[in-house]
């Protein structure tokens, strides 16, 4: 098995899986019908992308491994999602701020991966980028509306943007496998990732009349399998069916 490629695909799939799960928790609980459906749509888009990454990972792994094994039957320390994605839904501004940082990063990552030397990766990225273009539009529109809305919405949006700023540094910390993938023409250039992320988020935050948080440290660990306490609870939910009824399907 090509272990580096497998590890890389897990890195690509885990963040959208966990964020998608967080968004799915809002199904039926959104602020109104329209936004509820919009967030569920985004969750489903992300799960579709995750399936593509895990199917490829399962093939690379071999030995009969399936996408479901990868999604449902790993332990907490084996998940490689960034800790940003496991943070809970507190209020709508939180949901939007988390999504906004994620989408800005995800968009830049996938646009680079459309040029990947690995044809399967470039094909998955090309399919996903249309969805993520819409996600980024959705979340940044909401950042502007809430930032530039009422006094109350401005305060909440500003607080959420400031809160999640401590999670964004991890998005740009390059693991060994990501360095290796970039060197071989398969992965993304993290310098470009950071530059594109900063320029996009700064522009939106300026338009929204929000202060750009100045922060010189970051929460980290997810990409090494060291998670915040929230992931354990997520996995309890996410894995329940497969743990209780091994191999079940519907």
């Amino acid at each position: 098995m090509n272990k580096s490629l497998y590890d890389y695909l897990i890195l690509l799939g885990d963040s959208p899986l966990i964020l998608g799960h967080r968004l799915s928790e809002l199904c039926g609980h959104g602020p109104n019908l329209e936004t509820d459906i919009a967030l569920s749509n985004i969750a489903l888009d992300l799960f579709g992308q995750v399936r593509n990454w895990y199917q490829y990972a399962a093939e690379v792994h071999g030995e009969g491994k399936t996408e479901d094994d990868i999604a449902f039957l790993r332990y907490e320390h084996e998940y490689r999602n960034v800790v940003l994605t496991e943070q809970p839904n507190k209020d709508f501004a939180w949901v939007i701020a988390r999504q906004f940082y994620f989408d800005a990063w995800h968009f830049s990552l996938l646009s680079q991966l459309t040029e990947s030397r690995d044809e399967r990766i470039s094909a998955i990225a090309a399919k996903s980028i249309k969805e993520v273009t819409y996600h980024r539009r959705f979340s940044s529109e909401w950042v502007k509306r809430l930032g530039d809305g009422t006094e109350e919405s401005h305060i909440r949006m500003q607080n959420a943007i400031a809160h999640f700023a401590m999670y964004k540094g991890e998005l740009f910390e390059e693991t060994n496998v990501e360095k290796e993938m970039f060197a071989s023409g398969t992965g993304a250039d993290f310098k470009v990732l950071k530059t594109q992320f900063d320029s996009f988020t700064n522009e939106v935050l300026n338009d929204a009349g929000l202060e750009i948080p100045q922060i010189d440290w970051t929460q980290r660990g997810g990409k090494q399998g060291v998670h915040s306490e929230h992931l354990g609870y997520i996995l309890t939910d996410l894995q329940y069916m497969q743990r209780a009824y091994p191999g079940m399907q519907w």
Binding site: N32, E34, T35, A38, F138, E141, R145
Partner: protein
């Protein structure tokens, strides 16, 4: 105090060449949001290739009470239907 966003009527064109058809309504603060909400609510199953949104308040509706004078007179004028023409087979959207 609860303030609802205004209501917008949504029209979807399912394929090129067809008309936009009324699909339903959404709540939205402005036209841009109405378009996005309509996309999220009404085109999830490939229902459309184009969306129109119109503020519901801009629609002037006929009064159901006036149904008699508005619509009844057409009832017995069957000769206004083009049923006396032979249509070519290629004409599919009449």
């Amino acid at each position: 105090m609860k303030k609802e966003w205004p209501v917008w009527e949504v029209f979807i064109r399912s394929r090129s060449g067809l008309d936009h058809r009324h699909a339903g309504s959404v709540h939205a603060a402005d036209a841009k949001m109405a378009l996005e909400n309509a996309r999220d609510v009404y085109t999830r199953r490939q229902e459309g290739v184009s969306i129109w949104v119109v503020p519901s308040a801009s629609i002037t509706a006929s009064d159901p009470e006036e149904g008699g004078e508005l619509f009844e007179p057409a009832k017995d004028k069957v000769y206004r239907h083009p049923t006396f023409y032979d249509l070519p087979d290629e004409l599919t959207h009449m």
